[in-house]
Symmetry: C2
Amino acid sequence: MSCRIGMDVGGTNVVTGLFDSEGRLLRRSKVRTIKLSSCELIQQLAGQCKEILAAEGVRESELEAVGIGLPGFIQSESGVVSSANLPFNDVPVATRLQQLLGVPVAVENDVKMVVYGEYLHGAGKGYSHVLGLTIGTGMASAWVSDGRLHEGAGGLAGEIGHISFPDISYMCGCGMKGCLETVASTAGIARQARDGLKAGWVGLLAERFPPEIRDELTSHDVWQAYLDGDAFAGQVFQRTANWLSRVLVPSIALLSPDVIIVGGGVAAAGDIFFDSLRSYVSASLHPLYRERLRIVPPSLGDDGGLYGSAEFALKSRKIGLRI
Amino acid sequence: MSCRIGMDVGGTNVVTGLFDSEGRLLRRSKVRTIKLSSCELIQQLAGQCKEILAAEGVRESELEAVGIGLPGFIQSESGVVSSANLPFNDVPVATRLQQLLGVPVAVENDVKMVVYGEYLHGAGKGYSHVLGLTIGTGMASAWVSDGRLHEGAGGLAGEIGHISFPDISYMCGCGMKGCLETVASTAGIARQARDGLKAGWVGLLAERFPPEIRDELTSHDVWQAYLDGDAFAGQVFQRTANWLSRVLVPSIALLSPDVIIVGGGVAAAGDIFFDSLRSYVSASLHPLYRERLRIVPPSLGDDGGLYGSAEFALKSRKIGLRI
C-alpha cells in the first residue's frame, strides 16, 4: 500500500496526517514544537513522519511523498522558507527534509494548503473556482481554479492582510501602517475592543475588563461577551466583517468564485460574523453575483491543511516540482 | 495557407483582422454598424469575413476559425450574447455565424479579448500572470494566468465596474447606486468635472464651459483643459486613479500579477493618470509587491482585440469549445 503524509506546522503544534493511496485519512498525531531551533524542528518533522508510519504499521518504503503547510513566505520553486512564527529564515526546509526521509517533500503556505484541502474534500468540493480566506492570527487568501492552486508572480498571491487603508491607524508587524490584518484578525478583534473600552464603552466587556486588566482581553473574551449579550462586542465582529468586505467585494467581481470559504479564529465566531459579511458583500455587488454568492465556513475542521498538503505533495511529485 | 479572423465589434464600428497561420496580421478593415438589426449585423459580420478573405486573395476553405470580441454578457459555453450596446438580446451569435461561414466561431467579451491579445503579443507578452483592465466607456477586467483566460463562475469574472461604494452617489445604468463605473469611465470623468463646475471650480474648464453649455462637456475636454494647465482638470484624473486603486490594490494582493495593463479612453490620458495610479497603489501595498509592480498601458493600440479573438478562436477550436 502506498501512502502519503500531510503536515500542518504552526508556531505551537505540528499536526501530522497519514493518508492511504485513495486519499483517506488513516491516522493523525499532534506534538508541541515551541522553542526548537531550525535543525531540531526539521529533525522533529522527520521523526513525526517515521512515528506515524510505525504507529499505523506502514513500511517507510511505502511512503510516496510528504506535504507541509506552514505560516510564512515560501519560495515555491525551491521550498525555501522564511517565517516570523517558526525558526526558519531562508531555510531550505523541503530539501533538508527530503534528505532525511528519502521521498519528495513539498512545502507551501499553510493557508494555501487549508484552502486546497477544502477545495478537494471540504466546503469547496465539486466547485471549479474556490476562493479561500483565513482570518485568524493573521489574514491571507488562496485561489484554486480548475484544479490549480494559484501562486502568482514570486509566489506572492494571497497576502491580503497587508493591504493598507488610510482610515486604519495601527502599525503592523510587517512595518507598514494601517494593514487590514491589524483590525481583521484575532489580535485585531482584541485591539478594537480595548480601544472601544478606552473610548468609554459600557456593558459586559467594560465590567469584565476594568482598565487595570484591559491588556489581558483576547478575541475570545470579546466573543464570550457577545454571546452573553454585549452589544459593543457584537459590533466588533460586524465591523471586522465590514473591513473584510472591502477586499472580498473586488475579489468577487474580479474572479467570480463559485464559493468563498472563510476560516480561522475570527470566522469561528459564526453567524454574527458570516451574516454581517454576507450582508455587506451583497450590498456592494451586482445582482448577478449576489444571486450565486456562497460564503461558507470550512467543513474539514482542523484537518483541511492535512488533506491539502498530502494531496499537494503528490501532485507536485507527479508534475516534477520540488524534487 | 490556413488563416483565421479576429473581429472587434463595437456599438459604432466593426474592425476585422485577417491573420496567417503564424498569427501575423495580414490585413485589417473597418466598417460602421449603427442601427442594424440583430440579423443584419450577423449578416454583416459574415460579409466582412468573406470580403477580407477576398481582398487578401485567400480562399474561404483556408479559413480555420473566427473569433469575435464584443461588449456585453456572453454565456461562454454557448456563445449566446446579451449586449446593451448591440442589437443582441439572448442571441446565439456564435451558432448563427458558424452556420453562415461553415467554420468554428468563438464569441467572448471584448475586454477579455483585448487583454488576451496583449498577453499573447503585446504588453503582457512573456509574463505568466497578466491582469488587464479597460477604463473607457465602461470598466471591466480580465485575468490571464498560465495561458488561461479566466471565465469565473457563470462567465462573470471581470465586471469590476459594477462594484458599488457607499461614498459614490450616482445612479448607474445597471440599476445600482454608486457603481465604480459611474466615476471611473469617460462619462464619469465628464460627470466629475460638471459637478465640480457646479460646485464653483474656477479656471479654464469654467471659462470654456459656462452653465448653459456645461452638459456638452466630455472627458476629452477635461483632458484638453488639463494639458492647457487647468489644475482642477488634473485632479479629476488623479481622483479617478484613486477610485481605480480601490479595486486594483486588493487584486494585486490576491493574485500577484506580473504586470497590470490598463487601457481605454481614460487611461489614454497618459502620465497624469498612470503616475497617480502607481502612486496610490504603491502606498497601499506591502513592499514585496511594490518592488515588482508594473502598471503599463497596452502596446497593441486598437489591435489587441483582433489578436486576442483570432487566437482565442483557434484555441477554442482545438480544445473543442463552442463547436
